[in-house]
Symmetry: C2
Subunit: 296 residues, 2 copies
């Protein structure tokens, strides 16, 4: 299977995730605050690649898990991811006016509603999860790994470190810590939550945790590189933003060439982590390459 095929498969998966998201977000009827629902949907349906839900789905499939539940779990994680983007773009945070080629949530709905739309998306994610059609103990593990990855020792903690690091000289170790929180933690949650849609054993969970760590790093390094070399139209956001905010990035700390090497190194590690799954990990391996060479 070549690069063209993984793209086709991803397009198919993205479309499935979008269908489930549409079904979940069919909440206009009797909504207490219709304006809030509008703001929630604006950011959720602005053309994301749905990478996290796809990870959940691919892992669940690889382990012969419950596919329908995995789609709902993945959709919930996309709600969490979307909330984090809305809050990250706020004037008091990264102050980004555009996201995926469209005005940011707060530019359209105002700061107050944007904050609340984020809050509501995060809360709704856990509501969807609480009603999954899986054994209750599995559901609780899924809620645990998602709330862990999204919380103070994961995504939110990483964002705080990121803000604290602005205008500061930081080391590569510190940069890795920021990214492992900001991006890596929810990647890990997506992958482990997919596993809990099946019956993973200890060895499988350990291998998947390693995969998550290296895939997250690959993703973030490429993200940093694209902020330097990317095409604004393809990216849907302004490039050079990290530099403007005086943010530490891989290209800044290592130079562009070495940053690319670092991304390739982590991609190799991610692929290696999948050893225990053999041929079954075919798609997850292809996904590493896709993330490595992506243009947006």
């Amino acid at each position: 299977m070549n690069q063209v095929n993984i793209k086709e498969i991803l397009t198919q998966y993205t479309s499935e995730v979008n269908s489930v998201l549409k079904e979940i977000m069919n909440i206009e009827k009797n909504a207490l605050a219709p304006g809030l629902v509008k703001a929630m949907k604006y950011s959720l349906f602005s053309g994301g690649k749905r990478l996290r839900p796809i990870l959940t789905l691919m892992v669940a499939e690889m382990l012969d898990g419950d596919r329908d539940s995995a789609l709902r779990v993945g959709a919930s994680i996309e709600l969490v991811h979307t909330y984090s983007l809305i809050h990250d773009d706020l004037p008091s945070m990264d102050d980004d006016d555009f996201r995926r080629g469209k005005p940011s949530n707060h530019k359209v709905f105002g700061t107050a509603t944007a904050i609340l739309a984020g809050d509501a998306l995060l809360t709704f994610a856990f509501n969807i999860l609480s009603k999954l059609n899986l054994p209750p103990d599995k559901v609780l593990k899924i809620i645990e790994v998602i709330s862990q990855g999204a919380g103070h020792n994961g995504m939110v903690g990483g964002q705080v470190l990121d803000l604290e690091a602005e205008d500061k000289e930081i080391s590569l170790e510190e940069l890795k810590k920021i990214h492992s929180g900001k991006t890596g933690a929810l990647f890990k949650s997506s992958i482990l939550a997919g596993a809990y849609c099946a019956n993973p054993d200890r060895t499988e969970l350990t291998a998947l945790e390693r995969y998550a760590r290296y895939l997250g790093l690959t993703f973030q390094i490429v993200d940093d590189i694209l902020d330097v070399t990317g095409n604004e139209e393809v990216l849907g956001k302004r490039v050079g933003r990290d530099d403007e905010l005086n943010k530490a990035t891989y290209p800044r700390l290592l130079g562009l060439k070495q940053a690319v090497k670092e991304a390739e190194f982590n991609a190799e590690k991610a692929r290696d982590s999948l050893g225990p799954f053999g041929e079954r990990a075919f798609l997850l391996k292809q996904l590493v390459d896709y993330i490595l060479v992506r243009q947006s």
Copy 2:
């Protein structure tokens, strides 16, 4: 038992809730972002009455539920309540510089960290809940009622309506809708979550839902009244703030005298709702009176 005794009992319960909160929030060690943990704890330990956790605990006790779990459930709800206060106080929302007699979270830590501290508290609440020592199906019901009450058709939805209503003439019906979302929904979650720490039947759940509705209204009307008649030092915040923000309130719509009557009427309804529990509901009835005559 007289009014003095309920105050003593509440002091005792508050102290128990605070102990569990302290244990839960003992997360400094190995924290990814120590500054974030500091901001979370600042607002959480600024002297709240812990009314919502106390409701959870009293309901669980009345139904012979698991007391230790009820304390942890209540503590999680207090995390959710605290996050909502932090976000409500933000410059783009109610723009309050003081809360419980201390500078608001964003005045101390800045807007970005305040938003993230709120996000982290909300997320951590679900993490604590996912690890409760109760049957998994009960835990999922608890997560469901809390995420429902805190979300777009509950607390967050109510806050959006509240912001939309500023500088507008609204009806009493619309005001009730705002309050049922903003305050009532999480009261209801606290009460039902307490019930799910036991084995509630349909009749009990229906009675508790009625109790929650009327107690929430009583609480909010008294809150509005205190913003007119209260003592700033006892309240720990400025009075007259609703008027400044041109907010619809019960005293504004009904006049002060009629607003007091409305509070008494709802308190009576709340007490009546507890009929099915007979003598067992003694404390929950006393709590209605406490909320009605409170000074802060």
